[in-house]
Amino acid sequence: MSAVAQPPPPPQWVLDLNSPPVTKPKNPSIPDPPGYTPALTRKERAISSKQSTRKQPTSEETNTLKIKKAWELAIAPAKQLPMNAFGMYMTGNSLQIFSIFMVFTLFKTPVMAVLNLQKTFAPFENPETSGRLIPVKITYILCNMLMLALGIWKVNAMGLLPTTRSDWLAWEAERDWSERAIPREWL
């Protein structure tokens, strides 16, 4: 148990790695090998840090950005739609394990997405943006409904929707005849 507290002494190569050799003054005539970025000198580091400090955006700007991001998210399912439709078309109308799986995901994704609506838009939610997020959310739901519609279309094409007379045939009964006639010889 005591061994846990003390890690073993680091190997030589780790030490080497931690204390890289001092950069030699660069001979300008020799270019750096491709892909090699020389470690920055202290001065250079200072310059670069000075450059990265920019002015903080205002909350108004952040909110606009958030709404923009939210719109992007809301439209995303619609973008997948043509791809999905093509996939559905390609799998055909036969009942196979792949097409059934695809149809299942087609149904599951929008439903789950709608259920997780608040969670999805939580990063963009704050008292100022919440009002502006409503149309975004509606769009998101609509896009998912489009996906669901694609699923229903597919299921119907596969003949799984009970829309025809033959689907309800088993519940239709034979007529009862109020008379029964039999040949005499059967008696």
Partner: protein, 957 residues
């Protein structure tokens, strides 16, 4: 195009099924019957001179000539020559041809395989072969090649003919013009004797006239009369007119069987013997050897009401005298005698119900005696006639075998003391057959019915009570379990009993009750290769009746027998074959009525009449009379048990064509003989309304027009008459389907109303309520004599039309898809039609060899085919009866609910056991490994991961 045709053909044939090779001979059985053998034409003989084993040849009472292997009773060959009372069969010594004469046909068969060598028909209609003899020797010289046959013709043409043994050509004919009744012919090495009955004009007895003919020319050489007028009144008084012995005999007796007169043919002397028994003799039978070289000894058998005895006579050839040698003691009970020869010696075999004894013709000492072992098939039966073969060594019989016809119609071979085999030949005249419903099944059905009518709680209580009551069978069931499991794994070959039939899970064991012309009743287990479970003679219940065509009807636990000679129907228990005296009439309705009005209909004086109620005196509700010139030939109703799984037909586009399902439909066939026309009328038998009619012209009305009705479709078949229509003679099969409306998704004028009446119509009546009929007709290669439809439990399985083809002796199951009237005509089927399984209409249906249910069997003389549901939905039981009996089971949509034979139960059990053992082994191993993982291991693992992460961060920064 060709590809399309091939594809549609493949689509059409794909669902077609055949009898599988491993199922053949297992699921089906065939009793190839000959009929009751005739005594004088039954004999053992070698099929060819060099043969070691002999066959048993016979001609039966229904005119079938056949050969049976005496070892196992298997049929070697047979040839039905048509029913005729005059049937003869003779075999020349050392020949390979057997000559039979039935009716007006004289046929020579190859003795070993039954192939026809030649056939000659008597030219004059109405004449029949009265007797047939082989000319063994001609002027004392044996013709080794082909021995000629001498035939005696009676009827429209009378005379004697000599038929060439090689070709069947008639060599000469002696015409009988004297008006004598031809009786028999007998040949001797030098002459042919022709015996006829000369009746005086003024009545009284007949004289026997014996004419000797020249074998070469057929000219009459000599003729003399024997004064027999005191005794002979009919042909039956003549006992024997000696077939081919060196000394042909002629024996006759008087009406009272008091005196026996014997004449040696060729001489005029008559020896007279008095019957030795004091009590009245019922029958005298003379047994003599029919070999040329055997001793001239014969045996006379006297049968009385209580017993039988016999006397042996010797003929002295030099002095032409007949003397009694010895007599055999009288025995109680029935028995019979048979003659056999070995070289010149003659032996007589006496067969009684419990014993077989052999005596030599020379002395009365018994040289062989065997006590008969009983057999269940022959219980209570006595021997009627027999033929036998005896092996004699050192003056004692070492073996004897006899083919014995028993009084219960079993033809059995008695080998020493054993019954080697028995053939149920009495079944060859089966006139009616029904599926018996067993009482036990019925009670369960009844209980279920009770539960169905109660409310939920009461039904549940009833059910629990029933299960508790069932527990009493539990110990027995538990006891049987090991044997059942073992039997399941290894495959059982058990004997079938009534018990088996009642505890049959698949319902393949079903009883069929058969009635024969002779008044026999038998029950066969169809699932156990047609084993006879019980058989009875109906005369024991109705001694005065002479049965001609008994018809059967099955009720719960019993069958009802009706016959013209019976005053009241007989009721027989279907499980035991015992008579039921009192009958519960309430449980015997063939259909269950649910608040329905019962209407009965019947064919009365050529008119179909409907009556309001089951009583014979009920009021006439409607009458259907065929148009003038037509006569109603038959009618076919929908079967009482015809379950329909779906009330509509689903089309390829998932729309529905609604079936016209009316339980009261009846198909009436009417014939107009002069117009060569057949009319088919579809009636609603509740109202008598005509729903559909169709007429076919140029029909041969003398041929059978079978029809059948099932669900919403019917079919019939007829023969096209070549002479009247100018078209080629052919056979047609017509199939029609009835729908409520021609439009899909439409329930017709009655709409969605759940009840309907044709007698009390609603406002939507008239033409509109008629069904929409789709028909298609097909040319078929053979005539159909009978057709029926398979039946299954729920009606889910597709149906098969089962047709009997008498020309090819086969039974064919035509799949319903092939004869679907919705097959597109003149165009390829669309994709949707293809998905329905419809192929392009072809006008000709060839019976695919795969459809033949009988495969290698030849089923001859089928009168009817009955079908029944089995315990599983996929399978229907089929039973064909007539001269032959054939049973099988068919699965039109394949046996989808039964494990196939290829399923290896042992392998499955072993696999499961191996997996179980594997789990037992592996489970502790895994848990051991998990237990040994300590915290240290887990921490060490974590540490390693931390180090790796550190390195990674170093590497990337």
């Amino acid at each position: 195009m060709r590809l399309h045709a091939a594809l549609s053909l493949a689509a059409c044939l794909a669902p077609v099924l055949a009898v599988f090779e491993d199922d053949a001979h297992h699921i089906d059985f065939h009793h190839a019957l000959l009929g009751l053998p005739k005594h004088e034409a039954t004999f053992f003989s070698k099929p060819y001179a060099a043969s070691k084993a002999s066959l048993l040849y016979t001609v039966s009472q229904n005119g079938t000539i056949g050969a049976v292997n005496p070892k196992d009773g298997a049929l070697v060959w047979r040839s039905p020559l048509g029913p005729s009372s005059a049937a003869h069969l003779r075999f020349g010594e050392e020949q390979d041809v057997i000559i039979g004469g039935v009716g007006n046909r004289i046929v020579a068969f190859s003795a070993s395989d039954g192939r026809i060598v030649w056939e000659t028909n008597l030219k004059v209609d109405g004449s029949a072969v009265q007797d047939l003899e082989i000319l063994e020797q001609e002027d004392g010289i044996t013709n080794p090649e082909a021995k000629d046959a001498i035939i005696l013709v009676d009827g429209a043409e009378q005379g004697v003919k000599r038929v060439d043994g090689k070709t069947g050509r008639v060599k000469w004919t002696l015409e009988e013009t004297s008006g004598d009744i031809p009786f028999q012919i007998s040949t001797s090495p030098t002459t042919i004797y022709y015996i006829s009955l000369h009746s005086p004009l003024l009545g009284g007895g007949s004289k026997l006239r014996v004419s000797s003919l020249s074998p070469i020319t057929g000219k009459k050489i000599d003729s003399y009369q024997l004064s027999s007028e005191a005794e002979i009144h009919t042909k039956d008084n003549i006992l024997f007119a000696g077939a081919n012995t060196a000394t042909p005999l002629l024996a006759w007796t008087d009406k009272a069987h008091k005196v026996l007169k014997v004449n040696i043919i060729g001489t005029k002397g008559i020896s007279t013997f008095n019957t030795p028994i004091s009590e009245p003799v019922e029958k005298i039978v003379l047994h003599a050897p029919n070999r040329l070289n055997s001793l001239a000894h014969f045996l006379v058998e006297y049968q009385t009401a209580t017993g039988h005895s016999a006397e042996v006579f010797h003929v002295d050839l030099k002095r032409n005298t007949i003397s009694k040698a010895y007599s055999l003691p009288q025995l109680k009970g029935k028995g019979t005698f048979a003659t056999s020869t070995a070289n010149a010696n003659v032996y007589f075999t006496r067969i009684t119900t419990d014993e077989v004894t052999v005596v030599s013709s020379v002395s009365h000492g018994i040289i062989g005696r065997w006590t008969l072992k009983g057999s269940s098939a022959l219980a209570g039966a006595y021997p009627v006639h027999a033929v036998s073969e005896v092996v004699v060594k050192d003056n004692s019989a070492s073996a004897a075998r006899s083919a014995v016809l028993f009084s219960n119609g079993q033809w059995a071979l008695v080998r020493n003391s054993d019954i080697a085999w028995s053939r149920p030949e009495f079944l060859s005249t089966t006139t009616s057959a029904v599926w018996a419903e067993l009482p036990e099944e019925e009670t369960l059905a009844h209980e279920l019915e009770v539960e169905g009518h109660q409310n939920v709680v009461a039904a549940y209580v009833h059910r629990v009570n029933r299960h508790i009551k069932d527990l009493e069978h539990f110990p027995a069931w538990l006891q049987n379990l090991p044997t059942r499991i073992l039997g399941n794994l290894v495959g059982t070959t058990g004997d079938s009993t009534i018990d088996d039939i009642q505890h049959d899970t698949f319902g393949f064991h079903k009883l069929v009750v058969l009635a024969t012309e002779g008044g026999h009743l038998a029950a066969l287990d169809v699932g156990a290769k047609g084993k006879i479970v019980w058989s009875i003679d109906l005369h024991q219940f109705a001694p005065e009746a002479s049965f001609s065509s008994p018809s059967l009807k099955a009720f719960r636990g019993f069958v009802e027998i009706k016959d013209p000679s019976l005053t009241s129907p007989l009721l027989i228990n279907s499980t035991s074959g015992s008579q039921i005296v009192d009958r519960d009439l309430t449980s015997s309705s063939p259909v269950t009525l649910k608040d329905q009005k019962l209407i009965t209909f019947d064919l009365v004086d050529g008119e179909l009449k409907g009556f309001l109620g089951p009583e014979p005196s009920a009021e006439v509700a409607w009458t259907f009379t065929a148009p003038p010139g037509e006569k109603i030939a038959s009618y076919t109703a929908r079967p009482a048990k015809d379950p329909v799984a779906s009330i509509g037909k689903v089309l390829g586009d998932r729309r529905v064509l609604y079936k016209y399902l009316n339980p009261n439909l009846v198909l009436v066939t009417a014939l107009a003989e002069s117009a060569h026309k057949v009319s088919i009328y579809l009636l609603d038998s509740a109202s008598g309304q005509l729903l559909h009619t169709v007429a076919h012209y140029g029909v041969d009305t003398s041929r059978p027009i079978p029809s059948t009705f099932s669900e919403n479709w019917f079919s019939y078949s007829f023969t096209i008459d070549a002479s009247s229509s100018g078209a080629a003679r052919g056979y047609q099969l017509v199939v029609s389907e009835l729908y409520e409306s021609p439009l899909p998704d439409d329930r017709g004028p009655l709409g969605a109303s759940s009840n309907s009446s044709t007698v009390q119509p609603s406002e939507v009546r008239g033409e509109a309520t008629k069904p929409h009929v789709l028909s298609q007709s097909y040319q078929i290669p053979e005539e159909i004599s009978h057709m029926t439809v398979t039946q299954t439990r729920q009606g889910i399985t597709s149906r098969e039309l089962i047709v009997t083809l008498p020309a090819s002796n086969s039974i064919v199951g035509i799949p319903r898809q092939v004869i679907d009237p919705r097959r597109p005509i003149g165009r390829e089927p669309t994709t949707q039609e293809q998905s329905e399984g419809l192929g392009k209409y072809v006008p000709m249906i060839l019976f695919d060899p795969k459809w033949h249910l009988n495969h290698v069997y030849e089923v001859i003389g089928i009168r009817g085919v009955i079908t029944s549901e089995s315990g599983v939905e996929s399978t229907s039981l089929v039973f064909a009866y007539g001269s032959d009996l054939f049973g099988t089971r068919v699965a039109p949509s394949f046996a989808f609910d039964v494990l196939g034979k290829g399923f290896n139960k042992i392998q499955m059990t072993l696999t499961v056991a191996a997996l179980f053992v594997g789990v037992l082994f592996v489970a502790p191993l895994v848990s051991y490994l998990f237990e040994n993982i300590t915290e240290e291991d887990i921490l060490a693992d974590k540490q390693l991961q931390v180090q790796r992460k550190q390195i990674n961060t170093l590497w990337t920064t």
